[in-house]
Symmetry: C2
Subunit: 148 residues, 2 copies
């Protein structure tokens, strides 16, 4: 009997996990901001390949930097009330520490602008430094406001 109960419990947990994985998030703000962040992460990944792995597309660095800056410009109302409900890694602190969130966002936008400026030139070292700074600003916000 105990074995049956255990088996049912395991099956039930498995079923719930499977359903949860299948359910698509429908909170508009959650879906939208995850889409925007994904574009920015993609640009960072492409830049990493060009800057550090030797992918031959140096002329594209400026495109990717602009893509990151553009992402910030198209966040819209990213964390409206109620958008803590759903499949999100956003920590509750986002809604209780708005000034800190704003500061982190301004820091990141500043780094994106510096990255755009660096990629307008031909100094690869300057672009690498600006890229690392951008990554640090991303991480600073993730550390404070994103669940692992």
């Amino acid at each position: 009997m105990k074995k049956i109960i255990l088996a049912l419990a395991v099956a039930s947990v498995t079923a719930v996990s499977a359903l949860s994985a299948l359910a698509e998030e429908s909170n508009p703000a959650i879906v939208h901001r995850q889409g925007i962040y994904k574009t920015m992460a993609g640009h960072m990944t492409a830049m990493k390949s060009i800057l550090f792995l030797g992918f031959e597309a140096p002329a594209d660095l400026a495109f990717h930097a602009q893509g990151i800056l553009d992402g910030f410009g198209h966040m819209g109302n990213a964390y409206p009330p109620g958008s803590d409900k759903g499949e999100t890694k956003a920590k509750p602190e986002i809604w209780t520490q708005p000034d800190k969130v704003k500061q982190r966002a301004m820091d990141a936008v500043g780094a994106a602008k510096a990255l755009v400026a660096a990629t307008a030139g031909t100094d690869k070292g300057a672009t690498i430094a600006a890229f690392k700074s951008m990554g640090e600003k991303c991480k600073a916000c993730h550390d404070d406001f994103r669940k692992e």
Copy 2:
């Protein structure tokens, strides 16, 4: 003795899996194309939120459509020889069926251009139709050439 060997075997497999998960992919073409695809997937996700979930950023549809088209324009040499080696979902058929790959890519670029054109107008229905067509072209290539 058998138990010890089994335990060592299990520990060894676990260690290899853990290492594999930790190791960052370093094949430049794999990292680059994954970054580019991520930007495009992000734009699709943001558009989905605006078109179907009611996220209030209708003026951004054209930006996202252009971002998808731009992605194709910045793929570079996406599948060079040797870029089948590493953490990639690319099926071997990519390198054995180049004509089919090219056709799929041209179909997708065509859909992206149509999406850009649709978002230049104000007909939401036309944008939704173009968005769905874009998604179908993505899926057609994934079905043929991307591992699950």
